[in-house]
C-alpha cells in the first residue's frame, strides 16, 4: 500500500471511530429520515391518485428522498468534525506530520462514505421490509447504494469546504438549512410534471438535487431509465468534483505549511 493510501485509511478510520463514539451525532440523522419516510408515505398517500402519478406506492416514490436527506446529514457531521479539528488545533497537529493534503481530504470523505453506506443500507432495508419493490432489480439496488454514496461524497465534500472556509462548527451548521432548502424545492414530493405552480416547477427543474432524486427514483419505480441515470450521475459527479476542487484550494489556504 502506498503512503498516501495508508494515510487516507488512517484518517478515514479516525473519522469513523470518532463518529461512532458520538451516538448523538449519528442516531438522529439515521432516525429522522426514517420517521419522515413513515409520516409522508402515509400522509401523502392520496397523491398517488393524481392522474399521471408514476406509482401506486408513495413509499416507493418517497424513499429516494431519505437517501438525499441522509447525505445532507452526513455532510453536516463531516463539516462539523473538521471545523472542530481546525478550532482545536488538531489540523495543525496533522499538518506537522508527513500527511498529504489530498490524503487528509480523501480520508475525511472516506469517513463520510462509511457513515453514508450504513445509512443507505438501513434506508434501503427498511423500504424493502415495508414492501417497496425495486423495479431495476438487484443491480438497480446496488446502483441505488452507489448513487447514495455519491451524494454523500458530494454533499460531504461540500461540508468539508464550508468547514475549511469558515473554520467554525457554527459556520457549518448555519449552512445546513440552506442545503436543506435545496431539498425542499426539488421534486421530492411530486414529479415535476405534476407540480402545477409554475415558479415552483421552474425552481425544481433548475435545482440539481431534483435530478439526483429522480435518478434514484427511476431505479425504484421505472427500472432502467438511462436519461434519468445519466442526469443523476452527472449532477452527483459534478457536485463532488466542484466541491473537491473548492475544498482542496481552501485546504491549501487553511493549512499554509511551507
Amino acid at each position: 500500500m502506498t503512503d498516501t493510501a495508508h494515510q487516507v485509511l488512517l484518517i478515514a478510520r479516525r473519522s469513523l471511530v470518532r463518529t461512532a463514539r458520538q451516538p448523538g451525532t449519528w442516531i438522529p440523522p439515521l432516525a429522522f429520515p426514517l420517521i419522515l419516510m413513515a409520516v409522508n408515505s402515509n400522509g401523502l398517500r392520496a397523491a398517488t391518485h393524481l392522474p399521471g402519478f408514476p406509482t401506486k406506492s408513495f413509499l416507493a416514490f418517497f424513499v429516494p428522498f431519505s437517501f438525499m436527506q441522509g447525505a445532507l446529514f452526513a455532510s453536516g457531521i463531516a463539516g462539523t468534525d473538521l471545523a472542530r479539528d481546525i478550532d482545536s488545533g488538531f489540523l495543525n497537529r496533522l499538518a506537522l506530520t508527513p500527511v498529504r493534503g489530498s490524503a487528509l481530504l480523501l480520508g475525511q470523505i472516506g469517513g463520510v462514505l462509511g457513515l453514508g453506506a450504513v445509512q443507505a443500507v438501513i434506508y434501503l432495508s427498511v423500504a424493502l421490509a415495508f414492501g417497496v419493490h425495486i423495479d431495476a432489480g438487484a443491480g438497480g439496488a446496488i446502483l441505488i447504494l452507489v448513487l447514495a454514496l455519491g451524494a454523500a461524497a458530494g454533499f460531504g465534500t461540500l461540508g468539508l469546504w464550508i468547514a475549511l472556509r469558515t473554520g467554525s462548527a457554527e459556520g457549518v451548521q448555519s449552512m445546513f438549512p440552506l442545503l436543506f432548502f435545496l431539498l425542499l424545492v426539488s421534486s421530492m414530493n411530486l414529479p415535476r410534471n405534476l407540480i402545477e405552480v409554475a415558479w415552483f416547477r421552474d425552481i425544481a427543474t433548475a435545482n440539481p438535487v431534483s435530478y439526483m432524486i429522480e435518478a434514484l427514483r427511476s431505479l425504484v419505480i421505472e427500472g432502467w431509465n438511462l436519461e434519468a441515470l445519466a442526469l443523476g450521475f452527472g449532477v452527483t459527479i459534478g457536485l463532488t468534483g466542484v466541491s473537491l476542487l473548492l475544498a482542496s484550494r481552501q485546504l491549501r489556504v487553511r493549512m499554509a505549511r511551507t
Binding site: T97, P98, R257
Partner: protein, 321 residues
C-alpha cells in the same frame, strides 16, 4: 553533520498580518541541546514565531533554519526533525491516549512492533500507562499536556517546540513536565524552544532566555546575566517600633541607595558595601529591632520591567487599553 548537531538560526524573521506586524525582524541562535526560554506577555509574538519555525506559517520577512533546513524551502525536512506541542492541547476527545499515539506514529511512517514499543515507552515516560485506553475527554489538563508532549516525541525529533506547555497546570503537573523537558535536553540532547509567560518556568528550565515584546526581542542572555544587568538585590526592613523608621533609613543608607518601600518600611538597593549579614549586624549594633526583613533578588520580571517599562503580569491588559 546530523540534525541533532544543528540548532536554530533565525535572521530578521518577520510576520505581518495585513497592517499588524506580529513579529518584527527577530534574530536568534540556539545551540543543539540548549533549552531556550522565549518569554513575553500574551500577544508579544511568541506563538507566531513558533508557528513560523515549525513551518505552519510562512514568514513575511527574514529567514530561519531549523535543524539545518530552511523553514520555507525545506518544510517537510524541518517537520521530520521537529516535535511540537502547540498552545492548544490539540487532542481528539473521542480517541484514547493510545489511539492518538498510534495515529501519530502511523502518519510518521512508524509501524508494527516499533510503533508498539514507542507507544508503550512514551506512555510510561509521561505517566499515562494506566490511562492509555481511556478517552481523552476524561483526562485532566495535566494529563492532556503530558499526552501532547508524548505525541510530539513519537518520531524522535532533535528539536522540540513547546508553546506555553504549562499554562493552566497545577504546580505538581508543572513540575513533572519541567522534569521531563529537562531530562530530554540533558540526557537525549534535544534542543528545546520553550515559550512561556511564567518567569519561574524560564528561570528554572532555560539555559538562555529571550524576552519578546511587541514583536521584538528586547533582551537575551542567561537568566543570571539578565538579572545581573538589572542590578543588585534590595533589602526591605520593617522596624518593630514605627518611630525607629528614620533611624533605620540612616543605617540602611550605609549599604546602598534608598529605594521605594512599603509604608512603615525602609528599603535599600545594595551597592556592594555589604550584604544582608552586614545589614543585620549593623541593626544589632545600633540596637534596632526589626519586625520583618526581606531580601529581594532581581527577577526576570525586574528584567522585563527594566527593558519595557512594564511588569510582565498585566502587560497584555496595558497593551489593550
Amino acid at each position: 553533520m546530523s540534525a541533532r548537531d544543528q540548532g536554530i538560526v533565525v535572521e530578521g524573521l518577520a510576520r505581518a498580518f495585513k497592517e499588524i506586524r506580529a513579529v518584527e525582524g527577530i534574530d536568534l541562535e540556539i545551540s543543539p541541546g540548549e533549552i531556550y526560554g522565549f518569554l513575553g506577555p500574551n500577544g508579544a509574538g511568541k506563538s507566531t514565531t513558533v508557528h513560523m519555525l515549525t513551518t505552519l506559517l510562512p514568514p513575511t520577512g527574514g529567514r530561519a533554519t531549523v535543524a539545518g533546513f530552511d523553514v520555507v524551502a525545506d518544510g517537510p525536512k524541518v517537520r521530520a526533525r521537529i516535535g511540537a506541542a502547540l498552545q492548544e492541547t490539540a487532542l481528539d476527545p473521542f480517541l484514547s491516549g493510545r489511539e492518538h499515539l498510534r495515529l501519530q506514529a502511523s502518519l510518521h511512517g512508524i509501524r508494527g512492533a516499533e510503533r508498539q514499543r514507542l507507544q508503550d515507552e512514551l506512555l510510561g515516560r509521561v505517566g499515562l500507562t494506566q490511562a492509555a485506553d481511556r478517552k481523552v475527554r476524561t483526562y485532566s489538563g495535566g494529563m492532556k499536556r503530558r499526552l501532547d508532549l508524548a505525541l510530539s516525541l513519537i518520531h524522535g525529533p532533535s528539536i522540540l517546540f513547546l508553546d506555553e506547555p504549562t499554562t493552566g497546570l497545577d504546580p505538581q503537573s508543572r513540575a513533572a513536565l519541567w522534569q521531563e523537558v529537562g531530562r530530554l535536553a540533558r540526557e537525549e540532547g534535544v534542543t528545546v524552544f520553550l515559550t512561556t509567560q511564567y518567569l519561574e518556568e524560564a528561570d528554572v528550565l532555560a539555559d538562555r532566555v529571550g524576552i519578546i515584546d511587541h514583536g521584538r526581542i528586547v533582551a537575551e542572555g542567561t537568566p543570571a546575566e539578565l538579572k545581573a544587568e538589572v542590578g543588585k538585590s534590595t533589602v526591605e526592613i520593617v522596624p518593630e517600633q514605627f518611630a525607629d523608621e528614620p533611624r533605620l533609613a540612616e543605617i540602611l543608607a550605609r549599604f546602598g541607595t534608598e529605594t521605594a518601600a512599603r509604608p512603615g518600611a525602609a528599603a535599600v538597593r545594595l551597592d556592594g558595601r555589604g550584604g544582608l549579614a552586614d545589614v543585620v549586624r549593623a541593626l544589632d549594633q545600633e540596637n534596632l529591632r526589626a519586625a520583618e526583613i526581606n531580601l529581594h533578588s532581581p527577577s526576570l520580571d525586574d528584567v522585563f520591567l527594566a527593558k519595557t517599562g512594564r511588569k510582565l503580569e498585566g502587560a497584555e491588559e496595558e497593551d489593550d487599553e
